[in-house]
Assembly symmetry: C2
Homo-oligomer: 454 residues x 2
């Protein structure tokens, strides 16, 4: 392969960093409708940048929600085609007061760039745009054909992506997908993710009365919905952290002895990364089994009652909890939802009514570790980050991987370049700049190795 | 007694209603610091109105928090002196979207006036100002000496009232106190409250990590503080609604057979008033025992996690609950707080840290049912509302009653004129206008009967 593109990328680091800052400055929060104009602005920025790089057929594709950005370069005759996916939408920023610098004013401290979306996923996504830019500038061509598919709804469950993929399977039919939306172990220890957990998002509402009540008048005679809710939620786990929904683990596949050994050897820095005082959860499984191969049930927020300044001795008429379940391979989201509903019906006292609302859902996925795309990723990682990757299952969920497998039948290389302590979804999200530069290099190498190998 | 004052009051109903509307238009929310100017405006409005009525020595008394309003009329030589207490501060208004009309734009529908503070306590308090105004206009004098003490911190625990009462015991030393800040059974069935529950306000915080976490990366290995919190809170009640804090009921006095019978005969409209589908709570006690003679534990709000629009699969580093306990006679708030702390320490898992913050506290109180003030109240109620009152214990807490008993040694007549379904502390708070007019009359009659009896 030509080193011209890598040299070009290294010589233009300052330019790529400045461009990433511009993209990070756009508050493209997909969950909040007030940011619709920012979503359009971010899509426009990306489309313009792809065009500048030399990508063709660039289009901002409207959806029922936030737009997709598509673009391609198809002049590598006889070479394979790589589908590059990323997302330009970001998580909400609250609690805003815990950010050291404003989330949409990118700030560099100690080789990190701090901003919402820095690592999830604008920064990681932009590494591939920079890689293509460097190759087209240095060589005037790419070693593979490339199609970009960049969405704006990943953080809200990729609601409209499935329709687009299903309706454009011919356009998107490629040899593999390349996605950077996950983390590696350290700046010199890459991690090849071959599994992702699935996800179910739910809300559970409890109602006991038609109106809010004074706790002096009605305390002790009307069921406080918050009390009923905590009683129901407390029955979701036992003291060991094992989920108590009947049937929840029925379809969970046991981890093979070989995989168990591999997982046991993976490093774990959870206490340092989170500041937790102690690990929690199913003691009979090792840490990487718990996050990668075991399903979980989480409470993300409880709404209801007075949460403002001072005190208010009110009993609210209703309360609800925002919940999610992470699923592992072979679990069916619909079946798990039914199990949850049946369990809640079983444990709800007759003094309250409950309502369960279901939102996004996606099953887990596992990728073949011996596919040429995975092999190319492994080699690109080693040459760019200095060490061969460890193989692991990710605890998170990327529904798009499943959609690609389901509608396009292609293998997906999850070439993450974030770090575990990048504060994803939390205040002070950041991206380690050496990983950004090595990520651009890894993207260039991936395409060259994949072209040569295929 | 002269009927001139009652005739005067009845002829000036429209004027008194218009004046109450003006007072209700001031958003005097004591819990929210942005309303400090409104608190001052409300205090000034009341001081001016007392002066207009002919009350003397009117003063707006600064405190470390919101001001008190004082005024007196002391020309009834040889007659007893009545201390009239009320509060001009109101509860917060959220959830604001459940109000049918804006909380600070008083609106009359079907003989009710709707506004925050309509019944709790601006409307009830203003009935006494109107009564004194009517007597001084009609008769040029009052049958008793009167001292007004109107505070602006009742809804935030009367933080600075105790200092004022303790420091002005000579000024406030009177023969009885008259307070309208409670409800009666129906517009024609008054209720003489002789007992009030005490109150302890707390917060319980649970922390498991130093920062917020992605539920994919850390779900299953770090204890979600919301999960830990619901496990702790679920252990506060058993299925019967009985509080599980060890020792919690140790000092609770059994209700006498006579009182039990009296309570069993009191009407109960809880299901109609609240829209609850079913009663809840300790089955071995009747409804009025549960609200009046049994202590309770309530969750008022849970803070922590994402509660905004859409979903956010985050695990927050910490979460806390806003809590209260209603106490009954002979329970010591400090002892109950220690019991709660010991229980929480006992049931908290070692994967999280907890912090307990205590706020307001007040013991319960019981008033002698045969005191001349209670007898005068009973007769005034009967003559103004058409029926003699039933006697009951209130479920709510009025800390000022205890302060009057403790520092002034005076009996307190709780001559409430609200109704149970007035939506206290809730959206669409309201006040029944016939009760307002009958309340003015009852206040005039109380002072005349008390003067004649004493």
């Amino acid at each position: 392969m030509s080193n011209a593109a890598i040299n070009y990328a290294n010589e233009h680091r300052r330019q790529y960093l400045t461009e990433m800052e511009a993209l990070l400055s756009i508050p493209s929060i997909s969950a909040q409708s007030e940011h619709i104009p920012d979503m359009e602005k971010a899509a426009r920025w990306i489309a313009d940048r792809l065009t500048d790089a030399g990508i063709e057929n660039v289009a901002i594709v409207p959806t029922a929600g936030h737009p997709l950005v598509y673009g391609d370069w198809l002049h590598a005759e006889g070479a394979p085609t790589v589908l590059i996916y990323g997302h330009y939408d970001v998580q909400p920023v609250d609690p805003i007061d815990l950010w050291d610098t404003p989330p949409f004013e990118p700030t560099i401290r100690d080789d990190y760039i701090y901003a919402r979306g820095a690592t999830d996923d604008k920064g990681q996504m932009f590494a591939h745009i920079a890689a293509v830019d460097a190759m087209l500038n240095a060589d005037g061509k790419l070693p593979v054909n490339v199609k970009f598919l960049l969405e704006g709804e990943e953080e809200v469950g990729s609601k409209n992506l499935e329709d687009f993929i299903a309706g454009h399977a011919d356009l998107l039919k490629t040899d593999c997908a390349l996605i950077s939306d996950s983390h590696i172990i350290s700046p010199t220890q890459p991690l090849a993710a071959y599994g992702l957990r699935g996800l179910v998002i739910l809300e559970l509402e409890v109602r006991s009365a038609a109106r809010d009540m004074h706790s002096g008048q009605y305390g002790g005679v009307v069921h406080n919905p918050l009390t009923a809710l905590v009683h129901i939620l407390a029955k979701m786990h036992n003291e060991n952290g094992t989920v108590q929904i009947p049937g929840f683990y029925d379809d969970v596949l046991p981890v093979s002895a070989e995989e168990h050994e591999m997982m046991a050897k993976l490093p774990d820095h959870i206490l340092e990364e989170t500041g937790a005082k102690k690990l929690w959860g199913e003691k009979e499984f090792n840490v990487h089994e718990r996050t990668g191969a075991r399903p979980t049930f989480e409470i993300h927020g409880i709404v209801g009652g007075y949460t403002g300044e001072g005190s208010k001795t009110v009993i609210h008429a209703h309360a609800f909890a925002k919940l999610s379940m992470r699923l592992v391979p072979n679990q069916d989201p619909e079946k798990v939802i039914e199990q949850f509903k049946a369990y809640v019906a079983d444990i709800t006292p007759d003094t309250v009514d409950v309502e369960i609302r279901t939102y996004d859902r996606a099953p887990a996925s596992l990728v073949d570790r011996h596919d040429p795309a995975i092999v190319a990723m492994s080699q690109a990682y080693e040459e760019s980050f200095g060490n061969p990757p460890l193989f692991a299952r990710e605890g998170g969920s990327i529904p798009v991987v499943l959609l690609f497998q389901q509608y396009l039948g292609i293998p997906v290389a999850l070439m993450g370049i974030g770090l575990a302590d990048d504060n994803l979804h939390a205040p002070n999200e950041r991206f380690y700049l050496p990983n950004f530069y090595h990520g651009i290099e890894a993207s260039i190498r991936f395409m060259n190795i994949y072209a040569a190998q295929k």
